[in-house]
Symmetry: C2
Subunit: 373 residues, 2 copies
């Protein structure tokens, strides 16, 4: 099988850069990089697979720097099918990834590339799950990591990042964490911030390949969105499947955000009125995602939309998922909450990724479930 | 493919019972039940598989009550290979199971059977992980659950059990939890205690099938042991592979226990001297496992042994695993600790199941890693 070919370029001014660049955004215009990949021609999907592999690197033929992957067993996550009224749901349990969230897909490819180009220290900013993934994969790769987190990140997530030997830098806000992560970058360090890194999205696209391989032909996908890496990854992955002639179209993409921070929703539907907040969507608080335009374009071109959910709606959805044995973190239960709220308009075959585990947010369960009975 | 045939009988007096029995041990002599299974004849292993399935039910041809499984996506867990001196390690990440531990394999089969025979409420006793698994699978199956736990079980585990809508009954000790679980059993309830239930072991044997399917030819397996369900499951699974002619022998089995509670070690090597305790092996505290004789027989017949590890050894192994990006709970890090301690005597190709996730035991990480740096 031929290896895929890749072209790294600025999403806005279209200048090309080598895959080995240490720039984390276009040095000319400051826009995020795009990675265009051309997968090898194949008559059928199976011939593209490394059938001996399970998980993400099973699709190594369509992934960059795949000779020596940094892997902790990410991908190959289970699915649960569920029929509800007119809908057939495919809940994809991304929390079964090795550090408990979908971020492992992105981190595996991102840290693989960092090691391949000889980086000794990476820098990331995160409310928790992405930082955890970056720490664990850096540990596996023998690379140092420094993670900038807002001081209100869940204590459990900070503890886990430190346990994987990463340095934690606490900042006053998520915004400050993002700013300091890049402004304090030293010589020889690589910024692998998931909100910017195009290699992260390469990892995410494998979720689309897995869904395709499972035989589930989705009409739509509904998922939590902060920086949009999974959304863009699914969009890219489904797009590559269309491009290779394996499927006919990309499912409609519906983005879900908490009422407290909903830049994608507001870009489509206008400002939310009143004083709104959401504590339970804590992992989704990115006010100005660098790839906002790409996210909006993906939603628009698939005929999707954006929804918001409130804390009571998130709490109800979390309770319902636990009642089905599905241990979602509240930020991840947003997608199921949005499905419940909008199911008259949805219907058909729907993918709902359950992006992160409730095991990191046990403290929150007390708030949601009340006192022990 | 023909379905396998099964025979439920008393391990001691050999009396036979129907698979639908509500007895949880032999009503004549009080011994645990054994389930003998005869898998269908097959020329090669692949022909036995349900290739469309991932995970545990991929092996449904060798599992009882497999028509309508209660599944949350258990099994199909990732592995990490690691070369250390003369040894080649296969770390099997059982914490990637849907509730974060290997117990999901047992619970899936056990609760599948409970639902198949029409049970409306199940009862389990556990220090946490088994209770969590029983709760989540019961929730998925629409069955009620009551879980007896010692009051010193980790608070996070109790919270999670309650979140899955199971009733938690706190007891003064692990022993009392086991006693009350059976003495308080009401009409119509089924005791599915993992320390007794032979269907639990059927689920565990699939871990052996997965290792075989991965192509790793192990010389030995080293694993934490409390009630011994995984040990007995691996022993059975590897035994069935030998019986079907697919492999030549069963790996040597090494059981690992914390110094504070080591009945298997003591049965082989005599009483541990002095006043020993281990807090970090909290999930392994079963003083008198019902299947102790079977465990000893499995160790003996494979030429294995038993080891103990101390809290400082467990802490060091936990730290080392996190430093590799492997989020083991301390009770699970016991196996790696024992490997490190005994590696001169071991060597070769070694399976180390990493049985439970550190995400449920984050409170413990502070003790192990010290204050934030």
């Amino acid at each position: 099988m031929l290896p895929a070919s890749y072209q790294l370029s600025c999403a806005k001014c279209n200048k090309n850069y080598p895959l080995e660049t240490r720039h984390w955004r276009c040095p000319s215009c400051g826009s995020p990089f795009s990675l265009r990949s051309e997968c090898p021609p194949a008559t059928d999907f199976k011939s593209m697979l490394d059938g001996r592999e399970r998980g993400l690197w099973r699709y190594r033929g369509c992934l960059p720097f795949s000779e020596h992957p940094v892997s902790l067993g990410e991908g190959g996550t289970p699915t649960i099918r569920r029929r509800e009224r007119d809908a057939e749901l495919l809940l994809k349990l991304e929390y079964c990834n090795p550090t408990g969230s979908f971020k492992d897909r992105g981190a595996s490819v991102s840290i693989t590339r960092a090691r391949a180009i000889g980086v000794k220290r990476v820098v990331e900013d995160s409310t928790g799950n992405a930082g955890m993934a970056a720490s664990a994969y850096s540990a596996k790769a023998g690379i140092r990591a420094r993670i900038y987190v807002p001081s209100d990140a869940l204590p459990a997530k900070k503890t886990l990042i430190r346990a994987c030997r990463a340095e934690v830098v606490e900042c006053s806000s998520r915004k400050e964490a993002a700013a300091r992560a890049t402004s304090e970058l030293a010589e020889g360090e690589l910024y692998v911030g998931h909100t910017w890194d195009p290699f992260y999205i390469e990892g995410m696209k494998t979720a689309a390949f897995e869904i395709y391989e499972s035989g589930f032909k989705a009409d739509s996908v509904i998922l939590p969105v902060a920086s949009g890496t999974l959304l863009l990854g699914l969009y890219k992955g489904f797009g590559e499947l269309v491009g290779m002639g394996f499927s006919e179209n990309t499912p409609r993409i519906y983005a879900v955000q908490g009422e407290g921070c909903a830049p994608i929703y507001e870009a489509i539907h206008g400002k939310l009125s009143g004083d709104r907040s959401s504590q339970l969507a804590d992992a989704l608080k990115i006010e100005d995602p660098p790839r906002k335009e790409e996210i909006l374009q993906a939603i628009k071109s698939t005929g999707g939309d954006a929804f918001t959910v409130s804390d009571p709606e998130i709490a109800a959805a979390t309770k319902e998922l636990y009642g089905l044995g599905i241990l979602a973190e509240p930020s991840s239960a947003t997608a199921y909450a949005a499905y419940k709220k909008n199911r008259e308009a949805l219907g058909g075959r729907i993918i709902i990724p359950v992006t992160g585990t409730g095991l990191k947010t046990i403290d929150r369960l007390g708030e949601i479930f009340g006192q022990p009975h």
